[in-house]
Amino acid sequence: MTDLLEIREKIKILYSKYEFLILPVVKFVLAFVVLLSLNNRLGYMGQLDNIAVVLITGLMCSFLPSGFIVLFAAVFSLLHMYALSVEAALVGFGVYLVMFLLFFRFGSKDSLVVVLTPLLFAWKIPYVIPIAVGLVCGPVSVVPVGCGVITHYLLKTVADSASAINTLGEEDISAKLRMIIDGLVKNREMVVMIAAFAVTVLTVYLIRRLAVDHAWTIAMAAGALLDVVILLIGDLLYDINISLGGVLLGSLLALAVAKVIEFFRFCVDYSRTERVQFEDDEYYYYVKAVPKMAVAMSTKTVKRINPQRSRGDGGNRVTTERTGGTSGRYGASKTAGRSPYRGGRSVTIGSVSQEDPFEDLSEDDFDDNY
């Protein structure tokens, strides 16, 4: 645990130091993975199913705003659908446009969720999404999660009916349209998924905001459980053949991912380095403001409890020592002497010897010493 906490602090420092490099790299990797996954799932247009095109698009996404990843993913999928059949592209364009017009007006802030959801569906771990979104984002994120689920089922319908579409002739426009629209509108699995994910996001969000101990852990456990229950009820009602093992395993994995998110939730420092420009009557100001940051890496309080088997009372000796207590500070100079912890958060790392130190303690000793 100590090592993990130190790693977290190190990551925090690294992120604040090299944020200008890390963010574009993350955006590039995300765009690359999303487009590659799209090419694997659809891949009907040979020109796009080319690693060079994916790399170039990924590089473009690395310096453009993150919304462009969504745009490029939509364009890639539409072009693949167009290569398959015009009708598929028409339905795809209609679905994307309706989602953009009706839903994105309310939840455009978390638009990346729309591309992450189909990606995680492709990796067979979609249950991570509602719990992670509920923990990190707000209740409006239900909208992008729902849009992501619809996008996944649109891509799945197109991929599943590709061979059937290819067998139909050019003149069977209506049949092709019907095939794709039916695959989407009459898809009960999609409706159940949207309902389960929406309820999970809202539940996780509401519970994690409660002023109770371990709210985050309770939220993720309740969310995962509720997700499984709704999916199973949906399976019973509509016979949609959801794999129980897959749901349970996926939910366990989602819990693990949620735990990692919880561990790192303060790692991403939102009050990042600011570079601002302004002016008044006398000066132009070009200011770089670096946030102060506490580094609590090497502050360890080791409490040794040594049961003393002396002749008389059998008392215990408790010694507390501080090892290497050099809590550093990154970018700070003025506030030396104050608490090194900013933002009301502190980490105390304690360790005890592996022998059971409480072996010889009675309940009274406990009350006295602790």
């Binding site: 309706v98 009706l102 426009i173 209506s174 349209l177 601002v276 420009q277 008044d280 200011v287």
Partner: protein, 130 residues
């Protein structure tokens, strides 16, 4: 002569203007009723386009049936039905937009309170300096 406190305040305000404040300042420029009206109008436009798109897909989907039955159909009744669906969609989406816009306006105004307070403070600093 540079006033350190003033530069700090201006930096904080500039950072706010650049990030979350950008949207809030835009919202804050409107009167409440104007902001909500604009948002509802935008929503009505969106819902109209989306409805037309869904209707077009519906027509394509039922193209064969519609072609066969168009002469036997009660067209005014069909038009009334379509219009009812459109009005229902527009009203429900408009209401949703009204609620969301009202909430967003209140939130933006609350967020801007501190910004305006800092603006007054900055103004006072300049006046004090003469």
């Amino acid at each position: 002569m540079l006033d350190e406190e003033r530069v700090i305040l201006m930096t904080r305000m500039a950072a706010y203007e650049r990030k979350e404040g950008r949207q809030n300042i835009k919202i804050g420029n409107y009167f409440r009723s104007d902001y909500i009206a604009v948002q509802v109008l935008k929503s009505l436009f969106s819902v109209t386009v989306a409805f037309a798109l869904v209707a077009a897909l519906y027509v394509f989907y039922h193209f064969d049936t519609l072609l066969q039955e168009i002469y036997q159909m009660d067209l005014p009744a069909f038009a009334r039905k379509v219009l009812t669906y459109y009005v229902a969609s527009a009203v429900s989406y408009g209401l949703l937009t009204y609620v969301v816009s009202t909430y967003r306006y209140a939130k933006a105004k609350k967020s801007l309170k501190q910004y305006y307070h800092n603006l007054k403070k900055l103004n006072a600093m300049y006046e004090q300096q003469g």
